[in-house]
Amino acid sequence: MDRDLTPAPDTGTSYAEAAPADEGKYVYCIIKTPEEREFGPIGIGEDGNVVYTVRFQDLAAVVSDTPIRIYDPTRENVLAHELVNEIVMREFTVIPMSFGTIFRTKEDIVELLKSTYRAFDDVLEKMRDKIEFGLKVLWDREQVIALLEAQDEEIRRLKEEITNNAQSSTYFARMQLGRLIESALEGCANDYVVDIHESLKPVAVASRSNKPIGDRMIMNAAYLVERSREHDFDEAVKALSRKYENLLSFKYTGPWPPYNFVNIKLRLERADA
C-alpha cells in the first residue's frame, strides 16, 4: 500500500494517513434479519457515517464505513460503539463485536458470516431475548467500620481500651485493632457480595464477575437476564439497594448486549501487512 505522506491531523496512529477514506468497515454486531436495514448516521468516527447491514442469507453484520485505522478506546469512541449496539438491540438480538473491529471489505464480512454461519446462528438462538445488566457495588468504608464497631464485641472492647488509656495504650493494641478491622471488613465485603449474588440468581440466567475497579468497589458483575424478567431483575436490584442503604451504593447499568457472555475471537491482521 502506498503511503500518503501528508500528515493526518487527528490520530496518533500511522494507519489513518495511509488509507484512503472509507476503505474499511467497522463492525458493531451480528444480527439475524431477512432484509437490509439502515440505522441512521450514527457510525463511529468524526463523520457520522451511516450504519447499515452487510448480509449473508438471514445473518447480517451491522457496520459503518471507516478508514482503516485503530480507534483509541476513548470514552467518546466506546460510547459511539455502544450507542449503535443499543439502538440495534431495541429491535434485534445481537452478538456484539469487540470494540475496534474493522474488516477490509464487504466480501470479507460475507465470508465470515458464511464460514461461521452455524455458530452465529446457534449463539443468536441461545441469546435470543436475553440482555445484560451491569452491577457495580461500592461501599462506604467509614460507615461499614462504624457498623462493625457497633456490632463486634472485640473491636469495641479494643477500641475502648485504646481510648481510655491514650497514654499507655500500646502500639501493639493499635496494630491489633487495625488488623481486626481489616479482616472484619473483608468478611463483610464477602458476605455482601454473596447475599447480592444469591438474591439475583433466581431472576437471572447467568452471571460473570469482573475485577473491581479502584478501592471502594467490592463487586463488579454482569448478569444475563431474560427480557421477560427485566422487571423482576430491576425490582430485585432495587430491593437490595434499599436493604443496604447508607452502606453500599449500587451502580446499575443496562440493558446491554451480552458483551460479557459471548466472545467472538477473530484472527487479527496487521494493517500495513
Binding site: 465470508e111 461461521t116 479502584g214 487479527l268
Partner: protein
C-alpha cells in the same frame, strides 16, 4: 556453545556468557513492561469511574484520558515492533490459526471461521 567448552574456557568466555545472559534477562523484563497494556487499561477504568461518580469533571477527564491514550499507543507500537499481536484494527474473516491454543470454557467453533465462546455459567 556447549557447557564443557564453557567450563574449559571459562576465564575467556565466562564473562561474555554472563553478560549475554544478563542482557537477555533484562531485555525480557523490559519487553514485558513495554508491551503490557493492563496497567493503562486499569487506570482508564478507574478514571471513567471517577467521572461517573462525579469526582472529576469532563475537562479533567479529557485531559487525563489523553495521557492514557498516548501510553496505549506507545504500548501498541512496542508490541508491533516486537511482532506481537495488537487488539483493535483490521481483521479478516479467515480461519483462526490451527496452532492457536484452544479457548477455555464452552465453545462453538467452526473450522472455517471465527471462534465463538459462550459463557453462561454462574461466577
Amino acid at each position: 556453545m556447549g557447557i564443557l567448552k564453557h567450563l574449559l574456557l571459562w576465564p575467556v568466555t565466562g564473562p561474555l556468557f554472563l553478560t549475554e545472559f544478563a542482557v537477555g534477562q533484562i531485555e525480557g523484563v523490559v519487553r514485558e513492561e513495554l508491551t503490557d497494556d493492563t496497567p493503562v487499561k486499569a487506570e482508564l477504568l478507574e478514571l471513567q469511574l471517577q467521572l461517573e461518580l462525579g469526582r472529576i469533571d469532563e475537562d479533567e477527564y479529557q485531559r487525563r484520558e489523553a495521557v492514557l491514550m498516548q501510553r496505549l499507543r506507545e504500548v501498541r507500537e512496542w508490541r508491533e515492533r516486537f511482532g506481537m499481536g495488537t487488539s483493535g484494527g483490521p481483521v479478516r474473516g479467515a480461519a483462526p490459526d490451527a496452532g492457536a491454543p484452544a479457548p477455555e470454557g464452552p465453545t462453538i467453533a467452526d473450522p472455517h471461521g471465527a471462534t465463538i465462546e459462550l459463557n453462561l455459567d454462574w461466577e
